[in-house]
Amino acid sequence: MKTMKLTMAAVALVAAGWATTVAAATAVGPICDTAARVGSTTYYSCSGSSHNALDMSNGTCSVWNHRGMINVSRYYGYYGGCANNCSGGTTCNGGAGNYYVVTGGSGWDFRQLHLNSNVSSGSKTCDRCALGLVGSTGNSTGAHVHADNRQYGTRKTAWYTSVGTTCGSSAYCNNRVGTPTL
């Protein structure tokens, strides 16, 4: 009976035109190399200080495409201007280096950081397209892709912990690494 009442209430809300503006997306790995792996999750290097994001790498720099991770068409806003780099350690763009933001509703966003720019780099709407090259711009120690899912600027972890992504998980572009909220 209680379930029925709840169902009726949900139906009534939808009928009244109310619907939440956020939803779960699916994020896949950013590098189309089967060697790509997750190197940091909630903690840096999996045992250090708090990180609350995924760092993914295949051990190369400026060779492989850094791809959009959301597996449907989304708008990727580009913030560039940092010189390409394979060692990092700069404060360009507040340490984010060259990066992209997918902006969702209610303060949610999904970011991909530290890429080296190339002809593919720039704001665009696409589905898992090339955004630049895996690089190390900004506050980074070696080439990798940093991905985080934030609400009002606070990084959340459930988007990758909920699907079991952990240190050593595959970051290949056909492998689901998380379900970010957007």
Binding site: A12, T21, V72, S73, T125
Partner: protein, 332 residues
């Protein structure tokens, strides 16, 4: 008993137990009678699977074959997909194929790939095919694709189609694109929706576009177009325009509020007046209280609605969705 013999017996017992789980018929038609054969992955073979699943498969199987076609299309030559799309006559298969081609275009950032889909959407003699082709463009940056293909086919043109199925597909695409691709933040899609609503001769379609597409990024010209719809003949369209005006950017909020106050005072339709109050509340949030107070008594039947908004606004909720949900909890 020797440990090795014991282990062998245990294995035999386990194998026997497992075998008993399978019906005899399943064993009879095992791999010996139907050996696996290598298959070539082609557009045609995948379409055969899609066709069979869409005819008699479960909803889950139908979703799966469509998803598989989309993913496979990323690696398939575009020419094969385009040729198959040009000759397809089944609307459901064409929609799946169109979706796969549009996904490939989005992935490869190559809008020209969807030209055959646009051609079917605008020029096919079968309205079911035209509607399916439009639906094939759902979930991709279709407004941008149309512009980059020279604006030869636009939603403003498609919304004047004689078939209601095509017109409905146009509205669904724009609503979906604004919400799912851009989370409501894109000016181009929102303005395309406003222009499409203005071009529509079907008030239900225009009302859906104005009522459901985000207006948070539209420019002054689009705000004016929405304001003009407050004078539409159809009350549902007037109500949708009032809802849309409630979501325009801050720079346009003063003029929009004035238009909504005038609408509330002069329009006799209760649904339109209700939408006007919602628009006023959304534009001003807690700052809308004096305006809402001033509207008490204009129509006594609407006073409980104003009271509900004032109660919800008194909670000082910071997000529109939370405020709307609270108001709907108090009064639907």
């Amino acid at each position: 008993m020797h440990p090795t013999t014991m282990k062998t017996l245990k294995r035999a017992a386990l194998a026997s137990a497992l075998l008993s789980l399978f019906p005899a018929s399943a064993l009879a038609t095992g791999p010996q009678t139907t050996p696996l054969k290598p298959a070539t992955c082609t557009v045609e073979s995948m379409l055969d699977d899609v066709r069979a699943a869409l005819k008699g498969g479960s909803p889950a199987l139908q979703r799966y074959v469509k998803w598989r076609l989309r993913e496979a299309a990323l690696a398939m030559p575009a020419e094969g997909l385009q040729a198959a799309l040009a000759r397809e006559t089944d609307p459901a298969v064409l929609e799946a194929l169109g979706g796969a081609l549009a996904t490939k275009a989005s992935n490869a950032e190559s809008p020209a790939l969807v030209q055959p889909l646009l051609a079917r959407a605008s020029g096919d003699s079968d309205p079911a095919i035209r509607a399916a082709a439009v639906r094939g463009l759902r979930g991709v940056p279709s407004v941008e694709f149309m512009e980059k293909n020279g604006g030869v086919v636009t939603y403003e043109q498609l919304v004047r189609d004689a078939s209601p199925e095509v017109r409905a597909a146009v509205a669904d695409n724009l609503v979906s694109e604004s919400a799912d691709v851009y989370s409501g933040h894109d000016r181009r899609v929102s303005e395309a929706a406003v222009a499409t609503a203005a071009a529509a001769e079907d008030p239900a379609v225009a009302a859906k576009l104005l009522g459901e597409v985000s207006m948070e990024a539209v420019g002054p010209a689009a705000v004016e177009q929405v304001t003009n719809q407050l004078r539409a003949e159809d009350p549902k369209l007037r109500a949708a325009a009032a809802t849309a005006l409630g979501g325009v950017p801050g720079a346009a909020s003063q003029g929009a509020r004035g238009s909504l106050v005038d609408l509330f005072k002069n329009d006799k339709d209760p649904a339109v007046r209700k939408a006007a109050l919602q628009g006023i509340a959304r534009l001003g949030m807690s700052g809308a209280k004096p305006v809402l107070e001033s509207l008490r008594g204009v129509d006594r039947a609407m006073d409980p609605e104003i009271d509900a908004w004032l109660s919800a606004l008194s909670l000082n909720l910071q997000e529109w969705e939370l405020l709307l949900r609270e108001k709907q909890r108090l009064r639907r």
